[in-house]
Symmetry: C2
Subunit: 263 residues, 2 copies
């Protein structure tokens, strides 16, 4: 589950409630990685939230350095969990602290054996193999507008951006997809999440929208010729804008509206 | 096989000869992708070279646009080949033209079923999952010094840089590895290549050197805090410099000197 940041923590808590449900509800054992955050209270805040939403057990793993990410106990904690949650903050902190450590390996392996891995904001960005590290604002793509870095690789086919509409990030996501249209771009608004299941089908949960960029049929781009910070051309890009309850099949690259209510 | 560019084409042709041998020598059926290059004669030049080195059959696939990369015939040509060779030029042209097309899929699949996939310069960069798209010169790492893009993903664990010593690229490779030390950085000098076998062991072939950067034991970096274009810290990075005949085990991250000659 990837959350676009700033998810509701005070009212219905639709997204965090869904995360706990996915982790097993009253049987959920969740570990929280506050590594991305500089704020000491972030882990404790999510522990309180998940506990209030009925999780059986919630532990914060205080991993702030690479040394700590090498401690065997934390990787074991991940293997014992039904869910792993990464907080917001700075995604390059996550990739540079966790990358190549036993903890990162434990998270990837747990996910492939069915453990739910989720995160918000930076914790959402890190989930993909190709991660947006930083970039500039703007609605149209420009050369050198986005910096990519390797993420955790929990999911491979998508590239995730967050705080999407709130921070004017369409241009940088288009730029990332122009580099290699193998990627599907997902722009997640705040208080909005996607749940990706084991069949690579995603579902939108939350208050705003998700932009899906599919350039697999793109017939032309000047991304290899455009110099400096020049604007990019991209011909033949498919966009879908999804809201709560909509789904998208990442294998077939097809958006699915919800079934109409009966009656 | 990844070549650092500017390989010898006139004298012993050690690297290109080795490529033909790997593809089956006199039984080699090689397809050439000149997509990265803007020069019309590049494909024909390599066709002439591989033919002179004894390959049974050499075909140039004239793929310059995404439309052409969707043509079924070319994917079939790749499936029938024993080797695929990508020329130099611009690696973002390769990723933006080939990404997400049946031709890219055919190359990845051919490689996993034993077909040799090689390239020089841009054609070397594109081989890795995380590709260096462009960057700045310099011997020490700086924030935002390197732009990554998704490559073909023929190999996953390494990130390849080329024209390495000749274009002063140590800093940008260090920067890429700092983002996520899961990656092993390979800096290939001109007229120097690595052959990576199915056990993830690589061997150096050619005239100059290969720098291997392993930051898996790196205990600290400021990459997540350094603003703008600030210099980066990286504590505890392992370097190996290899020359012709040396090997490196990418699984164990260990360099191996050649056996001493018998006497």
């Amino acid at each position: 589950m990837a959350i676009g940041g700033a998810e509701d923590k005070a009212r219905d808590r639709v997204i965090l409630r869904r995360f706990v449900e996915l982790c097993g509800g009253s049987a959920a054992r969740i570990v929280i990685l506050p590594t991305a955050s500089q704020l000491a209270g972030t882990g404790a805040l999510y522990k309180e939230l998940f506990t209030a939403l009925g999780a059986e057990r919630v532990d914060v793993l205080p991993v702030n350095t690479r040394d700590e990410a090498f401690e065997r106990g934390y990787a074991a904690d991940v293997r014992d969990a039904t869910g792993v949650f990464m907080t917001g903050g700075n995604q390059v902190r996550l990739s540079s602290v966790l990358g190549g450590t036993p903890l990162a390996q434990a998270i990837r392996r747990a996910n492939s054996s069915g453990v739910v891995v989720g995160g918000t904001s930076a914790g959402a960005s890190i989930l993909s193999e190709h991660m947006i590290a930083f970039g500039r604002r703007g609605s149209l793509p420009h050369q050198r507008m986005v910096h990519l870095a390797p993420g955790l690789g929990v999911t491979n086919r998508v590239i995730i951006d967050q705080h999407f509409r709130q921070r004017d990030r369409v241009g940088r996501l288009l730029t990332a997809v122009a580099y290699n249209p193998f990627l599907v771009g997902l722009g997640l608004d705040e208080d909005t999440a996607v749940v990706i299941d084991q069949h690579n089908e995603l579902e939108v949960v939350g208050r705003h929208g998700v932009l899906v960029i599919d350039a697999s049929d793109m017939r032309h781009t000047n991304v290899h010729d455009a110099g400096g910070h020049a604007p990019l051309s991209m011909l033949g890009v498919h966009l879908d804008v999804l809201v709560h309850g909509y789904r998208y099949d990442l294998e077939r690259r097809e958006a699915l509206a919800p079934e109409p209510a009966e009656g």
